[in-house]
């Protein structure tokens, strides 16, 4: 069975943890006035930049190494859904941090990450740009989370119901299925 390269699997699972944490921190921080608000916002910014960097690396790795083909017997609509959702996930992984960074710039806030690194302002202050970016960042976050849930559902569908090797291709460690035994790396 063909699997993603170990580097791709490492990036996938690291980013899975990072993105889930990011989405929960995001909705949590904007709904609190407790002292934890400040560290949550600080982590949100730093993690966002980390995800941006990892996503760019991941995109390059993906373009270099590609991905295992989907099973030949997977219905066409499911193949299409898989492809489109992966395009959307890449777009969001790269786009969301940029939207957040641009949004802070358009509000004339200093953009500080990792406890003291000042990022450049990528936009001038602008009420209208800030509003547009804020809306995009806010609504796309919920779309992102919905997409993550669909991705998890699809992964489990492949793992538990179709048992077609799609889940195993990205599994962090080798998983033996009923039909085949994948040798450990």
């Amino acid at each position: 069975m063909i699997r993603f390269t170990p580097l791709q699997r490492l990036l996938h699972w690291l980013m899975a943890i990072g993105i889930l944490a990011m989405l929960f921190i995001g909705v949590g921080m904007v709904s609190t006035t407790m002292p934890k608000y400040l560290p949550l916002v600080a982590v949100h910014k730093s993690l966002g930049i980390a995800i941006l960097v990892l996503a760019l690396i991941r995109l390059a790795v993906r373009l270099r190494y590609g991905a295992p083909a989907l099973p030949a017997d997977l219905p066409e609509p499911m193949k299409l859904a898989a492809q489109l959702s992966h395009y959307a996930l890449y777009a969001l992984m790269i786009g969301m941090p940029l939207l957040g960074w641009a949004m802070l710039s358009a509000a004339a806030y200093p953009v500080v990450v990792f406890g003291g690194i000042y990022l450049p302002q990528i936009l001038p202050q602008s009420d209208s740009l800030h509003t547009w970016l804020w809306d995009a960042h806010f609504y796309l976050a919920f779309a992102f989370f919905a997409l993550v849930l669909m991705h998890v559902a699809a992964a489990l569908f492949h793992a538990l119901i179709r048992r077609d090797g799609v889940f195993e291709a990205m599994a962090p460690v080798s998983v033996s299925t009923q039909d085949e035994l994948v040798p450990a790396e």
Binding site: S31, T32, D127, L149, F157, I161
Partner: protein, 348 residues
């Protein structure tokens, strides 16, 4: 690890449970199941008068006027904080005189609290933002208490404030100040206080918990609210514009250092008057501009925008203020069309 003969129905149920649990955890984190949580949205909504908020304006301290000037550091603050702003020198300052009201057109004599927002920029690219008021203490000890104060003061129940004061004995010093302290006839004569405590970190890494104040160079002249009212609803803005046009107006910045055991987490409690105080420089206001097209309009005077060398302390307010100010900023920038700029060539 997989059961060899799991039925598809069981697997589908398992998938549905995983997805539902994920969505529920997300909704819980977002506060959708927690109507009691004091969110920035609820806190800011509580600031609005019964007639609704003034669209396009700050949700509190809505009436204000911009200034530009400099902060002239005398170098004495460098022993307390390594922030460049305390190294001897002049640093550009931008700020806003304001009144603690949700009404942008409130008459001056109807507003007890006056405020002073400021942003000082240093060559190292750092910023220090602060929003101070003229009260010597804050009305309450906690952000939750502040929310309760807003609810009580907006309540139609005649006993609401009485009940609030009974439940919040810490309100007494502020209440006494609000009732009995003299009013001045100029922003230039007001003392402005950080009230919240912050931590200064010096070059050796030692931490000093401090509060700071701006002490006016102009001699305070008392005036009764009635006499202030006779001078007109916008007298304070006209006065400060006139004074600054004829000469720069100055405030001395004084930093007070807490002793161990002082109430650093409670801005409703003053520190004893004998605490060590260091005069770190002079804030000089050189130019006044109307807010509508002025440079302070787009600035959120978030008190947690701090340079290296200044940090938040155990005081719970700066975090709550940051969350609420950001909410106010997000709202008012989205409503900019309701408060249009007038200057030609300025972006909407």
């Amino acid at each position: 690890m997989l059961e060899p003969h799991r039925s598809p129905l069981g697997s589908l149920t398992l998938i549905a449970i995983v997805i539902a649990a994920g969505a529920a955890a997300f909704a819980y984190t977002a506060g959708w199941f927690s109507p009691e949580r004091l969110t920035p949205t609820r806190l800011v909504a509580a600031l609005a008068p019964p007639t609704g908020p003034a669209l396009g304006h700050r949700r509190n301290h809505a009436k204000g006027i911009c200034f530009t000037g400099v902060f002239e550091a005398n170098g004495a603050g460098a022993e307390l904080s390594k922030a460049q702003v305390f190294a001897r020198g002049q640093y550009p300052a931008l700020g806003r005189f304001n009144l603690g009201t949700p009404h942008p057109d409130a008459a001056d004599a109807t507003v007890r609290i006056r405020g002073f927002g400021i942003r000082i920029a240093t060559p190292d690219g750092k910023e220090w933002r602060s929003a101070m008021i003229d009260a010597p203490v804050f009305p309450v000890s906690t952000p939750r208490g502040f929310y309760e104060l807003l609810i009580a003061s907006g309540s139609k129940d005649p006993n609401a404030m009485k009940n609030f004061v009974a439940a919040h004995p810490e309100f007494a010093p502020f209440g006494d100040w609000a009732k009995n302290a003299p009013w001045t006839d100029s922003y230039a004569e007001d003392r402005f206080n950080s009230l919240n405590s912050f931590v200064f970190v010096d070059n050796a890494g030692a931490e000093h918990v401090v509060r700071w104040s701006l002490l006016p160079a102009a001699q305070p002249v008392s005036i009764s609210p009635d006499d202030l009212a006779k001078r007109g609803p916008d007298f304070l803005e006209q006065d400060i514009a006139q004074r600054v046009a004829s000469a720069p107006q100055r405030w001395t910045m004084a930093v007070t250092v807490a002793n161990p055991g002082d109430p650093i987490a409670d801005p409703s409690k003053a520190w004893p008057t004998d605490r060590r105080t260091v005069e770190v420089g002079t804030l000089i206001v050189q130019k006044i501009e109307a807010e509508q097209d002025g440079p302070c309009r787009e600035i959120n005077f978030d008190p947690t925008v701090l340079p290296t060398g200044i940090q938040v302390s155990d005081d719970p307010f700066p975090a709550a203020r940051s969350a609420a100010y950001t909410r106010s900023y997000d709202l008012r920038t989205a409503e900019a069309k309701d408060y249009p700029r007038t200057a030609t060539g300025t972006k909407p």
